[in-house]
């Protein structure tokens, strides 16, 4: 009886380990395929409405293609959280191919200059983490709830743990 019990616990632990490592493999795979450090992003604010709403999920892709007006980019120039806005101005240097980039949320009246860190007037390519290419509505609400209402996260983890323990394998 005792050895079967131990075997059950071990097999459940291995299953859990496999689920977690599969998730990690998929995540790392996504980073590789999309060329972006954060291949998936949840929309946190209403500044791109009505196109994107809070809770929508964006899939990002990044390559060496130049940044051009109209592209929806995720940028982080030293702030806490990355921002998803549209490029409205590009000035690309003839010699270095470096570019000065200006962004703006579709729903905002003003451009993002006031948001840029360190009194920056323009973003550079290195501040752009990815371009939004795919979109799923509502799916990101899961992450928002987990972050903003941690008690739900604990309830879920607790319930999951209970489920693993009490299941027959």
């Amino acid at each position: 009886m005792k050895s079967t019990h131990i075997r059950q616990i071990l097999s459940q632990a291995i299953t859990l380990g496999m689920v977690v490592s599969s998730a990690l493999i998929i995540w790392k795979g996504l980073i590789c395929i999309t060329g972006s450090e954060s291949p998936v992003v949840v929309v946190l604010s209403g500044s791109m409405e009505p196109g994107f709403k809070r809770g929508d999920l964006l899939f990002l892709y990044m390559n060496k293609d130049p940044i051009r007006t109209g592209q929806i980019v995720v940028f982080n120039d030293g702030r806490d959280i990355p921002i998803v806005h549209r490029v409205i101005e590009v000035h690309e240097r003839r010699d270095s191919k470096e570019a000065d980039i200006l962004t703006k949320g579709d729903a905002n009246d003003d451009d993002d200059r006031m948001l840029y860190a360190s009194n920056r007037q323009w973003l550079q390519q290195k501040h752009i983490m990815g371009r939004a290419v795919w979109f799923l509505p509502y799916v990101g609400w899961f992450t928002i709830i987990m972050t903003e209402k941690p008690v739900i996260k604990y309830i879920l983890v607790g319930a999951l743990g209970l489920l693993v323990i009490t299941s027959k394998g």
């Binding site: 009505p50 196109g51 994107f52 051009r68 007006t69 109209g70 592209q71 929806i72 549209r86 409205i88 101005e89 590009v90 000035h91 690309e92 240097r93 003839r94 191919k97 000065d100 579709d106 451009d111 939004a132 290419v133 795919w134 979109f135 799923l136 509505p137």
Partner: protein, 147 residues
């Protein structure tokens, strides 16, 4: 899965958009105190983008940008005006408008310069892949002198 099917059907759509932009007036054209040229202009924009709408289209984000080159910059793109088209019925339109956003050069290169006006559209789906395209209209130029 639904996402993939939705986007697949979007790919089967063969759109035939059209657009025209006339510059009705150069309202003013000055060199600002910091040394950069700035221009204010009024445009007539007309377009028929109805064929871009599919059952999976949530909205079109459209904008007009001016494109030109200068000695320092091989490409300058400046958005002048944008709008959201929420439904097919609104996708055939004309509008008389001055530039919504400031048109400021990095420098004072604009006098007598030729530029393009491009109407871009960004298709935002209900779900799935976003895609964009544009119509480039050439042959515009700034006045030789400030005014």
């Amino acid at each position: 899965m639904m996402c993939a099917i939705a986007s697949l059907s979007d790919n089967l759509n063969t759109p035939s958009p059209s657009a025209e932009i006339q510059i009705m007036n150069i309202n003013w054209f000055q060199k600002q105190p910091q040394g950069n040229d700035e221009v204010s202009l009024t445009m007539n924009i007309s377009a028929d983008l109805q064929s871009l709408f599919t059952w999976n289209t949530k909205q079109l984000f459209i904008f007009v940008s001016a494109e030109y080159e200068t000695p320092k910059n091989s490409l300058n793109q400046v958005s002048l005006w944008d709008a959201i088209i929420p439904a097919k019925e609104h996708a055939k339109f004309w509008i008389h408008t001055s530039n919504k956003y400031r048109f400021v050069d990095q420098g004072n290169n604009l006098r007598g310069k030729e530029f393009n006006l491009t109407l871009h559209w960004h298709v935002m789906p209900k779900t799935g892949k976003m895609f964009a395209d544009k119509i480039v209209l050439t042959g515009y130029s700034f006045p030789e002198e400030y005014r």
